[in-house]
Amino acid sequence: MLPDELLEQLQTSFPCRELQIRQLSALYSARLPSPSLLTVYGLEATGKTSIVRGVLRANSIQHCIVNSRECITGRHLLERTVASCLDALDQYDDAEIDRKPYARCENISALVVHLQRMMEERTEKFVLVFDGIDRQREAPPTLLPSLARFGEMIPHLSILLITRFPLPLALHSPGAPHLPFPPYTRAESIHILSQSPPKIFLTPPDPEKFPDYTADLAAEDDAWLWGRFLGTVWDTMSKHVGRDLVSFRTTALRMWRPFVTPVVAGELGTRHFVRLMVRQRSLFQGEEPLLNRVVPKESRFKENIKDTLAVGTVKKKPLHLDTDILSLPHYTHYLLIAAYLASYNPARTDSTYFMTHADGRKNRRRVKNTPLSSSVSLSKSKNAKNHRRIPRHLLTPSPFPLDRLFAIFRSLVEGEREGSVPQTGDLLGMVRTLASLRLLVRAGVGGEVEGGGKWRVAFGWEWVRGIGRGVGVEVGEWLVGGVDG
């Protein structure tokens, strides 16, 4: 067991994990024997790796941690294990081990031999930690069962596996000890996060104006407001999505700055939590703080706040799509629309929608009677329940041959403006460009030049509607079944 002061220290740096720390330090102490295998499991951000590392360090036990995240293949993991074990032993013994025999480690058997050779003359125990071993890429199927037996075969070696889930079956070893790291509860999460409150005032207020507001007072205010705020964030947002500590913290930090703006602006006091909540309730109503983005969207927060200040209610805005960023050549717009229509309209309705000659009317009538026709009109009729169908634009796109795309394209363009598009190779070039932008995707096999090649679109309804409106084509009018909303 650890001396009590060391335990205390560990517990302050990792709060709410007292049980796990005690168990680990009991299992891995310098004098008592350690289990040959232990599986530490728990979900993301439950402190597994940090606590294992902390306990092993505090107990000054010789150990080495291999992170599976950094190993690309199973072989890589083995080589990495050997190398890091050698490095660790070198460091502990303060001597260089002759590395010649360890040049290659092709498979697990070789790893056993290497480890046996390393451990041969040692008397002290050595803990080998495999972090995230259940997510190892290209792992050989025998990896986990054989790792589970390493401790039995090699003296002084204990294996510690850190995984997301318990692995009783994968280890093929009865009674392998497991140590759970349960997710933090609400109280625990808030307790942990309130240890480090962010500041309300990024720049401290002018000391001449507010001589009483000292740094201590500010820190007290920060902690007070942050604690309340965390509770609200948990109840409104993180309880439902992103319960783990990291997501909770990210969400809270993302909302903190906009939340305290009225305080910073001097409109409300630091302790006016309820009024602040009422004022900033719109923040908690949207989903924006929960979304991970590379570029933070601060401007949108501000817009929302402005709206709520002006009107008092949150306007429901349609999803912002910056199609304007994508300034495509003129015909490419039409080609994209044609591709969408080719993917979502059944081929046999093409003559109805895109042909101009005389028997178009007859076809149209026939199409209306087919079950694939307008879901809108049917769902509005009385026996709607019998005929309810999924709107076409919610289905997966179906593949189409290139000629059909060009035929629809020409029909669209020539309907919109006079004159025809010349048959240049640029059209094929355009298809190629769109394919490399992953807007059109090759479906199935078949050469590009051969007629057999089929394509499908890889963009959604909203986007193509925006594109269509950009060039004055209402795509919904061309879509079989129409689109409501």
Binding site: E70, I72, A83, V246, H320, G425, S436
Partner: protein, 669 residues
Amino acid sequence: MEHERCYIYTPPQSEERAAKRRRTDSSNHQAQLSARLDIYRELWAQQEERIHATLEEADRSTLENIVNFISSPSRNHDQGLTCILTGLIIAGPSIASHGPFFDRLGRKIRNETNSAYILLTSGECPNLKSLLKNLIKKVTSRTEDDDDDDIAQGVSSRRGPKVLDFDLQHVQEWQTRNHVEKIVVAVQDSEAFDAGLLAEVIDLFHSWLDRLPFVLLFGIATSAESFEDRLSGRALRYLEGEKFNVTQTDKVIETLFGATVASTDVPLRIGPNLSRRMLDRQKDYVQNVQDLSDGLKYAYMSHFYANCTSIFLKKDITFKELPKEVLEAVRNLPSFRKWVELLLDSRKTQEVRKLLDSDEHLFETVKANVISGQEVLAAVTAAVIVLVRLREALQMTSQVPLSSIWIRAASGELAESPLLRETMLSIKKVSSDKLGQVLASFKAAESIYLPVDISAFQNALEDLLKQKTDSTPLRTQDDVRTNSLRTTVVAQKVELSKHKAALSEQDKLYSELIARLHDDLENYFNGTFIDPKELFLSEILIYDLRSPLTEVFQPKPRFAIERALGSPHDYLGCDCCSAAGDKGAEAALSATQPATAILYQLYLESGSLINVADLWAAFNAITGEEGEDNDHKTMALFQRALAELRYLGFVKPSRKKTDHVTKMLWKGL
């Protein structure tokens, strides 16, 4: 020959010589080619420099932002989160310009910061392993000049565990020796990468972030939102950064056109038809700077290759180095003939005689006229630039880009055009506060010679403004705001009458000033906007042939095949088919045509499933001769033709029905 697997084909020997036409003339037509090539190189070097300067200028600010971003310290220290610094570079949908952009970016980053720059493209990184191998190779190859490099590697390989070639420890080793501040990994075409692969790479880099200072740059062709949508939330959590917008290609193309074609000091102009064609193509099909500059280059090349009179564009050309043929060619130019007729009309017969007889005199005249022609064209361009600036300063509602105004001017449509008239009218109405801006914008264009004394106008305006006491701007008599409508009801009829508010003394003076400016500008525009095609020697000064460019840059492969099969006479030019072709469309099918062409025309008449037996019957009816014996031959022809159609991708065996083939391609798409 069925009994033989292979045999040697002996072509039937014919006595006659090949029908191909040969040049009988022994004289060298391209004697001056190397001289013209030199002129071309000189002129194109100038243009290329302009293009480079324009492109550099276009994304200078973006590049600087990115470099600042990279050299900034990583953020989020206070939040306790470590994220990979990430730049999303919205480079626009013209993929061809991404490569040069990232090259420039790499050069700038390497020069200005202590960072390693690694460019990854989707082609070389199909999976995680090869991506890492590539990355390591590119990072470590920079230090091959290090002396101790070999020793270090030798030692590590001789003893101890081998480091696999996709292990980032290589990079770490390299980093301990080189100590770069950042390792910038640029992903050029992020769309083409598999989303799963990107997520794995981000995860891996994040795991190494405590040892290796990675910075990620993603080139994005669509939008940042769609990029973020493709990545998982887990991967996104590791990224934090900024978005950079590269200047959009259409704007760059406009400035590029302004710099290379619609610029005052260009010796050889691209004509209006060609310019229009090139710009339309940019607008409709491809937005690609590289393509535009390639087009320009090809136009320059064609001009100097095919036009022997283009040698006159050489600056210090002497009479001696010029062969007679060139001057003879000048005498045959349409513009020369027109000019001679003009001279004859004005009864300068002596001059004409001299031009036709004396080579030396012709040479001198042409040389002088080339220079004066260039000046006239430069003046037209200058006037266009003045007009564009004028419209900008007047804040006219309809924005017409420089390129379209230039094209109109170059095709001689601008004089007396509605556009010009509209601009001149709004000059008449301009108020004094705007006039200051207009004059200042003229003043700013120093390189342009304007035969209007701007300073005098500026002084006059200042004098007028000094005399004025209130702050309202001066108005002219044509300004609508001085008009007011008055309605009077006389015997139940409403009469509308316009009334002019009384103009103050200063307003009157101001109106006079404006009228003077208007007249001066109108004279200037009317004097300069001539039709360049009417210019003497316009064939030398302007290159305006569309077809060479179209053939090279806008090929029509499908149309060509369809035409060759649909009307083979167009290509064969043989007598037998042309006779049939003259009679009309019905007679287009004839037995003399190639078998594949006949079959193709039958194919066009059928539906999407074709019965091969029917096709054979129709084919036999056209080509088959009387008698049973020839059936074999016709069948062979038919089979070969069908095989050729299949090879070209027109038909495919159908699984729906036996003995049928599926039609794959329709004509005219």
